[in-house]
């Protein structure tokens, strides 16, 4: 103890006695000289130095070094400012941390307090012990010891997202009385007070840190389309406002804030709620709620499936309908009904079942394919919704034996109402009965059913009808199968048999039938149901996904208190998804309360401050000074000084941001057709590209109605690509690869209908036995990072061969190297007319090496810039190159229009009939 400074390892100070020895040692050893090879040494021999004093270390350098070493010694002796001198040094000290989530925001301060108390105790030779009441399943006995073990335990202690287990206090093995420092949770727990009462029996209890403000989310529930978020807070010193965030996956899969609302809470312990009104589309994406700037587990509330949007599979028995007949398809209205409310899955039944949808709609399917798979899916909780139709009505099914995938047996034929050949009028609906899933839906009075299939009468029929017509015949029937259900609309899913599908009621009915797909009746779960932890809430409120975990009985998750065995998070079971949050729905935070006799830590005590790091940093600074001084003495400092500005300059070099395409140029680029070319950085190549595209533009201007303006060079680093219908990209072997950002923009450009013409300009040498050229390799490097479709050489019947001129070859300055475009889909090789009938999109890339720009290039007087081939044949090749350019531009601008035109002959023929 020296004044207000105490030492944890005072014996280290003895090392200071060695300092004078060090002084003499250092003084005897001069700084190392610089060794210099120098032929002029002959002239030096015999010369004398003016002064020889530097042969010894100068006194100030010595002093510097000695002080540095002294600081080191003092630093490692662990000096402490204002060490706590405890008068009850004779009784052991127990430091208790509750370690619950509510302490997480202030954990570092708390831990420092615990460490300081234990350090002080150790310094004063007290027996110490430390316990973290949340630290899992520590069955060990906790004994008091006069060692640093408690100190070390405190240093590594961490908070947990569950509540403290006060039974752990029973593990303390104490002889006689001991003092307790209780670093209390600001939130009250059930046994907190009792535990303290027990400890009070053993000695004094001092409580600290019990009044941090804490705000936590207690419940999130759905009321109609509104989300109600409840929160409660304690220890607030004044009315405060907190931002509550709804977080979920954005369109790109990254987590985004979907909504933000301000929650206002009164001072003291209070409750509050906010209402979030989100579109169903957004609501279903919410994965959790969070209070901003409250870094603890209570401020995070995970949602389970209750806000999730269902997945619905659609499957129709009818053959694929031709384009343009969308309104006639059986699935159009169900698809519209679920638009934005559910994720739709379409395809073959096998594909749909693989996606494991919540509901499956079968429109007019008589013979259900994949019967067994669908049946087991329904038994596991799937909702099957079937629609009737001519096929179902006419199906030759066994009318007597009940189809397990039908709610009722269908009578053959069905009936038609209000038609020319029928007796009755179109029927309307009866109001929904209580018990029907549709109960409470508004019934528009203009719904008319013109045809339906009828159910075989039977004892079960009345129970299964959930919607009926005014004459009592069923409109919708439902039967529970296993955990799921099968429903049947006795009309078609389109407007052929009724106008139900175009009413708002249809939408509501489908929603009601699918939204309850999730089993919410948890009480009905078997006792053996297990679930695995998928996502875990950490003590500081962050979310982490976990590795595969052993299953936990669902009942434990639902009812057991949170612990290391059942941490808060999202659990996934076979049939259910459960979110277990820190606070239960009806739980409200209470401020911690303490029994009489507990002392509170006085405000006046100055906390002890460890000084070790100050001394060590000081010593380090002195050593740096020493190094500089030594360099200076040996004349080497100048070199360092010379290098330093260069290093600094390197650090300060900032990236200059190029000006983005401004609005003005955007207007100019979009008001005309502008073709672009990629600037390669090679001035000659760029010039040829410009001249080439200009030449092509002139040809287009003269021969077609495409009247492009002067082409624009595109700097991939900055330019906005979307203004250009066609971009010419000459590949040079030494051009720089596009940056990640540029690649992203290129991919966006290609996906949104742009086209890039890659030209490796190596058509004269490529494929001549040398393997791939440098340009080809460069192209591969670039193309690897672009999202390109599968390619094939231009087939003979490609639109490019006839979009303006009829062409079979695509020469540029070189002739004959292959030109590649997007491969046509498999199985669509050619139709009966010999032409491709499905080439819907335009190929995003055309790749070749014929050096087209050079063939198109014209100088300012309109003369070709480069010779091609020899004589007339060369000129013919130039003409073909220009025609390819025209065809390409036509292809870019009109897409598969010319592909359609090939059917003209067929159409004319038909019209003639």
């Amino acid at each position: 103890m020296i004044g207000a400074i105490g030492f944890l390892a005072p014996w280290l100070l003895l090392a200071a006695f060695a300092l004078p020895v060090l002084w003499f040692l250092l003084r005897a050893i001069p700084p190392a000289p610089l060794i210099q090879r120098f032929p002029g040494i002959a002239l030096l021999i015999g010369l004398k130095d003016e002064d020889a004093e530097t042969a010894r270390t100068p006194w100030w350098l010595l002093l510097l070094r000695i002080s540095a070493v002294f600081l080191l010694i003092v630093g490692f002796a662990s000096p402490v400012l204002n060490p706590n001198v405890d008068d009850k040094a004779n009784i052991p000290l127990l430091v208790v941390m509750e370690g619950s989530w509510a302490e997480a925001p202030t954990w570092n301060v708390r831990r420092e307090r615990a460490v300081a108390a234990l350090q002080s105790g150790y310094r004063n030779r007290r027996k110490t012990a430390f316990i973290n009441l949340s630290s899992g399943v520590d069955e060990e006995q906790i004994a008091f010891a006069q060692t640093t073990s408690a100190l070390e335990a405190a240093r590594v202690s961490e908070p947990t997202p569950w509540q403290p287990n006060y039974e752990l206090l029973a593990n303390i093995r104490a002889e006689g009385s001991f003092e307790v420092l209780w670093l209390a949770s600001p939130v009250k727990y059930e046994d907190q007070s009792d535990a303290m009462v027990q400890l009070l029996a053993n000695g004094p209890v001092k409580a600290a840190f019990f009044d941090d403000p804490i705000v936590a989310l207690s419940d999130v529930r759905l009321d109609g389309s509104e989300i109600i978020v409840e929160a409660s807070g304690v220890n607030l010193t004044q009315p405060s406002s907190f931002a509550v965030l709804a977080l979920g996956d954005g369109p790109d899969g990254a987590e985004v804030v979907l909504d933000r609302q301000q929650l206002v809470l009164d001072a003291g312990a209070s409750q509050g709620e906010i209402v979030m009104n989100l579109p169903a589309e957004l609501r279903s994406r919410i994965s959790r709620f969070e209070i901003e700037s409250q870094p603890h587990a209570g401020a995070t509330h995970l949602t389970d499936g209750s806000l999730r949007r269902p997945e619905v599979g659609l499957y129709s028995g009818a053959a694929r309908v031709q384009e343009g007949a969308a309104l006639l398809t059986l699935l159009h209205y169900p698809r519209q009904a679920f638009e934005g409310r559910a994720d739709l899955v379409e395809g073959t039944l096998g594909d749909i079942l693989q996606a494991n949808p919540d509901a499956l709609i079968l429109a007019d399917v008589a013979e259900v394919p994949n019967f067994a798979a669908i049946y087991s899916w329904v038994e596991d909780g799937g909702r099957l919704i079937r629609f009737a139709g001519p096929r179902l009505a006419a199906a030759e099914v066994d009318r007597l034996e009940a189809d397990p995938l039908m709610p009722v047996s269908i009578r053959a034929g069905g009936r038609t109402l209000g038609g020319a050949m029928s007796w009755g009028q179109p029927k309307t609906l009866l109001p929904f009965k209580e018990g029907s899933p549709f109960f409470g839906l508004n019934l528009p009075d203009d719904i008319q059913v013109r045809a339906q299939v009828l159910a075989q009468p039977g004892p079960d029929l009345p129970n299964r009808v959930i919607a009926q017509l005014e004459d009592g015949t069923p409109l919708v029937t439902l039967r529970k199968v296993g955990l799921g259900s099968v429903a049947l609309f006795h009309v078609t899913a389109n407007t052929e048999w009724s106008n139900l599908p175009i009413s708002g009621l249809f939408v509501d009915m489908l929603i009601r039938l699918t939204s309850g797909s999730q089993i919410t009746d948890l009480a009905n779960l078997p006792d053996t149901a297990m679930a695995q932890l998928q996502v875990r809430i950490e003590a500081d409120g962050t979310i982490s996904s976990v590795e595969t975990q052993p299953g936990i009985p669902v009942q434990d998750i639902l009812q057991g208190s949170l612990s290391a065995k059942v941490p808060p998070g999202v659990y996934d079971g076979e049939e259910i998804t459960l979110a277990r949050n820190v606070l239960a729905a009806d739980q409200m935070l209470q401020p911690a309360s303490f029994p009489d006799g507990v002392r509170f830590e006085a405000d006046g005590t100055i906390p002890e401050t460890p000084l070790m790091h100050y001394f060590l940093v000081g010593a380090l600074a002195l050593f740096v000074l020493d190094a500089l001084a030594t360099l200076w003495m040996s004349g080497r400092l100048r070199k360092v000084v010379r290098v330093a500005p260069i290093l600094l300059m390197g650090l300060m070099l900032s990236n200059e941001v190029d000006a983005q395409t401004d609005d003005q140029s955007a207007i100019e680029l979009t008001s005309e057709i502008v073709f672009g070319y990629i600037l390669t950085g090679d001035a000659r190549v760029d010039e040829i590209s410009h001249a080439g595209i200009s030449g092509l533009s002139d040809v287009l201007f003269a021969r077609t109605s495409v009247e492009p303006v002067a082409p624009v060079g595109i700097d991939l680093a900055t330019a906005e690509l979307s203004f250009f219908p066609l971009i010419y990209w000459p590949i040079t072997s030494d051009q720089t690869l596009p940056s990640d950002d540029a690649v992203a923009r290129l991919n966006r450009y290609l996906k949104s209908g742009g086209m890039i013409l890659f030209d490796t300009k190596d058509g004269n040498v490529a494929g001549l036995g040398q393997g791939i050229t440098d340009e080809g390799r460069k192209l591969q490097e670039i193309a690897q990072r672009l999202e390109l479709p599968r390619l094939e050489p231009i087939p003979e019947d490609h639109v490019l061969t006839r979009s303006f001129y009829l062409l079979q070859d695509f020469p540029g300055r070189h002739y004959g190297s292959r030109v590649w475009v997007e491969a046509s889909p498999v199985g669509q090789q050619s139709s009966t007319t010999g032409f491709r009938n499905l080439n819907d999109g335009v190929s995003p890339v055309v790749i070749g090496g014929n050096d087209w720009a050079a063939a198109w290039a014209m100088d300012s007087l309109g003369r070709p810039m480069f010779p091609i081939g020899q004589g007339f044949q060369g000129e013919r090749q130039r003409e073909l190159a220009a025609r390819f350019g025209v065809n390409l531009v036509m292809y870019v601008l009109t897409g598969n229009y010319k592909s359609d035109q090939v059917h003209v002959s067929d159409i004319l023929e038909r019209m003639g009939q």
Binding site: R37, P39, T54, R638
Partner: protein
């Protein structure tokens, strides 16, 4: 130069390690030429020297009839005596010459100057060789290659070099290229021997800029290039003045030695263009006007 010769040269260039030196020297010698070495007396040669009266015993064919027709006397046309000279060059092979402060080493620049002189002398039909007995002075391209190799292999164990006066030919020209940092007794002996044999020449002191400026500071231990000599200074900056005056003293001593022997003395620093020095050499040795 035909293509095949060109290829051959290229091949040789690639094959021989000393070729950069030769190329450098050729580039240096490209714009210069050796003057002719008239002996200031009549003899065999191309240049006109004098007309003199024919004396009995002169060959009839020696009479210049055009001159004789102008008077009654018969005149003989005499030409100036021209002989091929010998140039002997010493490039200091010592380790001290390999010192460099960043640019080309002294040995490199010395050898370049020597070889460029050899090329010029060879072009003028003179015999070139190193001092000493190892390689006889000869003319021809093969000799140049031999010399290039000879001069590009310094002796790493030799601290400071001394020129060898043996093999010095009477009446020949000689050239010394060294930093003259070692003992000057050997140089003195050589110059005396040269003067005795009426051997004229130049001595060029090749210095590194660091050897001129002495830019050292702080506590420094100076070592000779082989490490045999050592000198420790506690404050090298204080030695700069003294060093430079010692250098000047040495240079003036060398100049005095050269003047006594009828030689010329020149200082060349390796960071300056070699061309100026080359012109100087041409003027002295080649009689360039």
């Amino acid at each position: 130069m035909t293509a095949s010769q060109d290829t051959q040269t290229k091949g040789e260039t690639l094959a021989e390690g000393f070729s950069p030196l030769l190329l450098q020297a050729q580039r240096l010698a490209a714009t210069l030429s050796w003057g002719e070495h008239g002996r200031r007396r009549s003899g065999a040669g191309d240049a006109f020297w004098q007309f003199r009266n024919a004396r009995p015993g002169d060959a009839q064919s020696g009479i210049d009839w055009r001159r004789s027709a102008k008077s009654d006397e018969q005149f003989i046309r005499e030409t100036e005596w021209q002989v091929a000279q010998t140039l002997q060059i010493w490039v200091d092979p010592s380790a001290a010459m390999t010192f460099t402060s960043g640019g080309p080493s002294k040995a490199q620049m010395g050898a370049t100057l020597a070889l460029a002189s050899a090329i010029l002398a060879n072009r003028a039909g003179e015999r070139v060789g190193p001092t000493g007995m190892s390689i006889m002075p000869k003319t021809g391209a093969a000799q140049l290659q031999k010399l290039a190799q000879f001069w590009s292999t310094p002796d790493p164990d030799l601290d400071f070099g001394t020129p060898d006066p043996s093999g010095l030919r009477a009446g020949s020209q000689a050239m010394l290229l060294s930093d003259f940092m070692g003992n000057l007794a050997g140089v003195e002996t050589f110059l005396q021997s040269a003067a005795r044999q009426s051997c004229q020449g130049v001595a060029i002191m090749v210095l590194d800029p660091q050897e001129v400026e002495f830019p050292f500071a702080g506590r420094t231990v100076f070592q000779s290039m082989t490490g045999t000599l050592e000198f420790e200074s506690n404050k090298a900056t204080s030695l700069q003045q003294k060093y430079q005056s010692a250098l000047r003293e040495r240079q003036s001593y060398l100049k005095a030695l050269c003047d006594n022997a009828g030689w010329h003395f020149h200082v060349y620093e390796t960071n300056t263009p070699a061309h100026d020095t080359m012109i100087w050499i041409c003027r002295i040795l080649g009689g360039m006007k």
